[in-house]
Amino acid sequence: MKKSAFIAAAFSLIILLLALPNPAYAMHIMEGFLPPAWCLFWWLASAPFLIAGFLKIKKIIRDRPEAKMLLAFAGAFIFVLSALKLPSVTGSCSHPTGTGLGAILFGALPMSVMGSIALLFQALLLAHGGITTLGANTFSMAVCGPMVAAGIHCLTRRLRIKQWICVFLSACLADLCTYVVTSLQLAAAFPAEHGGMILSFFKFAGIFAVTQLPLAISEGLLTVVVFNVLSVYSADDLCTLSVFSRREA
């Protein structure tokens, strides 16, 4: 029964993707495309998370210096994945976020800093995203995404689901959430004249979140692969973070 339900769900997903209108592009909010008041609002919204994240990183480095390398590893993973612009079945390209892995290992807060570093790099050197929109992009990719990843991971672990499924779901949903939040941010700033925010949201979600769906699955798969490699080669690092108990390693 379960299997047939899964196959039905997979098929309806594929049909949904095929039925969607052609090109759509997805990435972060561009410089100048968010009114100044909203830029300020999102900067203020992400600031506390950045400060808390910074303090958390300091604490990790002080309390568990051996985890420093793994923290840098999580940052490097964000760098690699957010540089990978992958094609999507909607006929356009977007990139994964890579924040899920770090959030699973260290919790959501440190990732707000790591993610914003990658965003800053792209805003300054690549003209992707922007300085004024960095607050908004940080909030979606480096605050909400990791929060979802850490939350889902905590929840699924409690349900005693297999480790790889927990990791997959966390990374996949964190990726999707990032772009749902981006759509919300744009919808809030640009409500449609008739239909308001909700109509705008569906418009932007059609552009951002739908393209992201297959990429979110890819991100989930890649995160599981990297997590597996980590659990083989650096089990002791993971144990110090109590991601899994020694029994499982």
């Binding site: 052609n22 090109p23 759509a24 592009y25 997805a26 990435m27 972060h28 909010i29 561009m30 410089e31 495309f33 009114p35 100044p36 390398m69 793994l70 840098a72 590893f73 940052g75 490097a76 993973f77 760098f79 690699v80 957010s82 540089a83 612009k85 094609p87 999507s88 079945v89 909607t90 006929g91 356009s92 390209c93 790099f121 805003a123 300054l124 690549l126 003209a127 922007g130 480790q163 790889w164 744009l186 640009f190 409500p191 449609a192 004249e193 705008s200 418009k203 932007f204 552009i207 951002f208 890819s218 798969l221 890649l222 692969v225 990297v226 597996n228 490699v229 083989v232 080669y233 650096s234």
Partner: protein, 101 residues
């Protein structure tokens, strides 16, 4: 979890990830695959025809070659560190294994 099983899982998952990246070219052959944020910009102009971006990027890569250079640099920095980390952990694990036996 034993290394052999995760190894097999990794190969299968990497295969799926690659398949997901190739599938669009078959399903949507002929699509443009432009990876810009243009459509969101277009949607904004549709919703608010009078909206003008109020600030421009401080610096833009002068050409798509330079842009790909910087993107590659970003990926290379990340991948370089990932390789270094995994290499160092692998040799550390091997060493502690040898010390024990």
């Amino acid at each position: 979890m034993n290394a052999r099983r995760t190894g097999i899982q990794n190969i299968v998952f990497l295969f799926f990830a690659v398949a997901l990246a190739i599938a669009p070219f078959i399903i949507k052959s002929g699509a443009e695959f432009t990876g810009a944020d243009k459509l969101a910009e277009q949607a904004i102009t549709q919703l608010r025809p009078d909206y003008k971006p109020w600030i421009k990027s401080l610096w833009k890569p002068p050409s798509s070659e330079i842009e790909s250079l910087l993107f590659t640099l970003q990926a290379a920095l990340g991948a370089g560190f990932i390789g270094y980390y995994l290499g160092s952990r692998r040799s550390r694990k091997k060493k502690s294994h040898n010390d024990r036996s």
